[in-house]
């Protein structure tokens, strides 16, 4: 089957009237990569996908696929296949004709089309559904028909627009693995859109975090989670405790920040200088109930405990009433803590990251 091609976006901007939906995005997606765009609703994800597939021409900048400039090529002349947010299956055709539609458009004979459609349906584990009507399929089955239909035209780049958002949780998790497997098997470049961070983190080789038409960070999933580049990325992906303040001390890798809750130390994640306004982020699972910790220490009041089995979520309140979250492994010592009036929360400087003040994600 076909091997993927690279996709380059060069200073791509998309304006609708005087509204800028995508703002100067530059990006290189490698051939065969599973690449995700992650961002809140309305941040311009679908717009980027529509520019890659050829439904919209960028207002400025270039889209290159496999090194070729795509300006002027319509969607039917690009080596891409788009899986729509609503799937857009053709309800008047049986399943196999849906799958074979692209081949029919290329003039392949009916019997050959039918054979190829059956092969593709086998690939997505729908071997005996060829003659069914689309309306008679379940949500997950429709999903797979849409994938088979897109694969039929042997695209170099597969574009998926939140394809799992209509499915229930269980099916969604199953389809994640399935999509990933199909991508590995075919070697096609997958560009995947989602506003579900779990989906992006588990499936992708790399993730682009977007906000308001701009790229916040492009990195591997673990790097996005552990080394967020902006306050938006840090607060959109995963949970974080956030402390604001001013830089009062600098060392080789660390910064010291004066906050409402005292001085704290963290890795310098963004070229912070003396006197800068800064935000310090620390994940709940890297905060602990302990006296030690060279990053910071807060005497907090315990508000609520959520028991999740292997771990426990603690919701606390700092003296300035700011909520704080700590996630700890279940070591059996719960009862004792519940009796304490105030709990020491601390974290290591290595576990925290300080970034220049910026916009946070609303969640």
């Amino acid at each position: 089957m076909s091997i993927g091609e690279s996709v380059h976006l060069e200073n791509v901007t998309m304006r609708f009237g005087d509204f800028t939906a995508v703002d100067d995005v530059s990006l290189e997606i490698e051939a065969g990569e599973f690449f995700s765009f992650l961002g809140p609703s309305g941040c311009g994800k679908t717009t980027i996908l529509r520019m890659i597939s050829g439904f919209n021409e960028p207002s400025a900048g270039r889209v290159l696929i496999g090194g070729r400039d795509m300006r002027g090529s319509g969607p039917n002349r690009r080596p891409t296949a788009l899986i729509f947010q609503n799937l857009a299956l053709f309800p008047l055709m049986p399943v196999w004709e849906n799958v074979a539609f692209g081949l029919e458009m290329r003039g392949m004979a009916r019997s050959a089309r039918r054979r190829r459609a059956e092969e593709l349906l086998d690939l997505v584990a729908l071997g005996n559904a060829g003659d069914k009507r689309v309306a008679d399929l379940s949500g997950g089955q429709r999903q797979r028909v849409a994938i088979a239909r897109a694969l039929a035209v042997e695209p170099k780049v597969m574009l998926l627009d939140e394809p799992l958002s209509a499915l229930d949780l269980k099916l969604r998790q199953h389809m994640r693995a399935e999509l990933r497997a199909i991508q590995k098997r075919t070697g096609v470049t997958f560009i995947y859109i989602t506003h579900d961070q779990g989906e992006a983190l588990t499936m992708s080789d790399r993730i682009a975090v977007m906000s308001r038409g701009r790229l916040e960070q492009v990195a591997r999933p673990d790097a996005v989670y552990n080394e967020p580049a902006t306050p938006f990325a840090a607060s959109f992906v995963g949970e974080a405790n956030i402390f604001q303040g001013r830089v009062v001390g600098l060392s080789a890798e660390e910064v010291e920040i004066e906050t409402d809750l005292g001085r704290m130390r963290a890795r310098n994640g963004g070229d912070l200088r003396q006197g800068d306004r800064a935000m310090l982020f620390v994940r709940p699972e890297r905060s602990s109930i302990a006296l030690g910790g060279d990053g910071g220490r807060i005497e907090a009041e315990l508000v609520e405990m959520e028991f999740e089995g292997s771990f426990i979520n603690l919701r606390l309140r700092a003296p300035n009433r700011q909520p704080i979250m700590v996630q700890m492994a279940n070591d059996g010592g719960l009862g004792e803590m519940a009796r304490m009036a105030s709990v020491p929360v601390s974290f290591a400087a290595r576990a925290a990251i300080a970034l220049p003040e910026g916009e946070l994600a609303h969640q």
Partner: protein, 286 residues
């Protein structure tokens, strides 16, 4: 008042309403139909002068009536042949236009429906006289098409509003040309409406009088012929004709419903619960 009795009152009220409603609809038909079998010289049921089939006999021998019926069918067929494609194209054009232009174009396209039929007939006659074309069945076709095409356009347009625009985009994305999108996606989607539009166009044409009056030349249609008879004296032969039409209509409706049920039966098995999930592609009802 207790709950039970108020429900009884409500029910009897609904029953009474239904009886009155259907009586209003069907009593005139029954009354007129009965007149077809009365020996009276005029279309009337009272006084009843005895049962007869002579008016059906008279009807059979009225050669003028049969030729005018032939003309009506001819004009109807012509109107269907013109109005359905014109309506389809107009609706597709509207579908392509920008929203603001679309409203304007739509207004222009439906205006013939609002215009008095008399004016359409006269205008058609005057216009074609300029080209030395006189009245006749062909001019009746043209005159009627001016407004019947608008009805067809509205029907296609209503259907197109239910077209999911992503079908078109998905087809393009899979390599279809615009022509292929039309042939493989749009036209199959519009086909059921085309049948409906043809039926409506035919019925509109068949019953038209106002517009046809000015353009029929010497090709009298059924409505024109019957209207003419009113002046010289109507006989119950007209009622006999009505009886035949009523029977034909009922037979067609029963046949249609019977076939529809036969077709619906195999598809009526339960759809899996998940099929109704979320934002899956809408499936048009037949």
């Amino acid at each position: 008042m207790n709950r039970l009795s108020s429900r009884v009152i409500l029910r009897s009220f609904i029953l009474l309403y239904l009886v009155a409603f259907f009586a209003y609809l069907f009593l005139p038909l029954l009354y007129m139909s009965a007149a077809a079998f009365n020996q009276s010289r005029f279309p009337a049921t009272v006084p009843w002068q005895g049962f007869t089939l002579e008016w059906f006999d008279a009807l059979l021998n009225d050669s003028m009536l049969w030729s005018s019926l032939g003309n009506s069918l001819l004009v109807g067929a012509g109107v269907v042949a013109l109005s359905v494609p014109i309506g389809l194209n107009a609706a597709l054009l509207l579908h392509l236009l920008q929203k603001r232009v679309r409203t304007l174009a739509y207004g222009v396209m439906v205006s013939p429906i609002l215009m008095p039929g008399v004016i359409l007939g006269i205008s058609t006659l005057v216009f074609w006289r300029g080209f030395d074309v006189g009245g006749g069945w062909h001019l009746a076709v043209l005159a009627q098409t001016t407004f019947i095409a608008s009805y067809c356009m509205m029907m296609f347009q209503a259907r197109l509003q239910r077209l999911d625009p992503t079908w078109e985009e998905a087809a393009l994305d899979l390599g279809a040309s615009h022509f292929q999108v039309m042939r493989r996606i749009m036209l199959p989607f519009l086909a059921p409406t085309a049948i409906g539009a043809a039926v409506i166009a035919f019925l509109q044409s068949f019953e038209n009088y106002n517009t046809t009056l000015f353009v029929y030349g010497s090709d009298r249609t059924l409505t024109i012929y019957l209207a003419g008879k009113v002046r010289v004296g109507l006989t119950p032969a007209v009622n006999a004709l009505s009886v035949i039409f009523i029977l034909l209509t009922v037979a067609a409706a029963v046949l249609f419903e019977w076939r529809r049920r036969a077709e619906a039966r195999p598809a009526a098995r339960p759809v899996p619960a998940k099929a109704s999930l979320g934002r899956a592609a809408p499936v048009p009802a037949e």
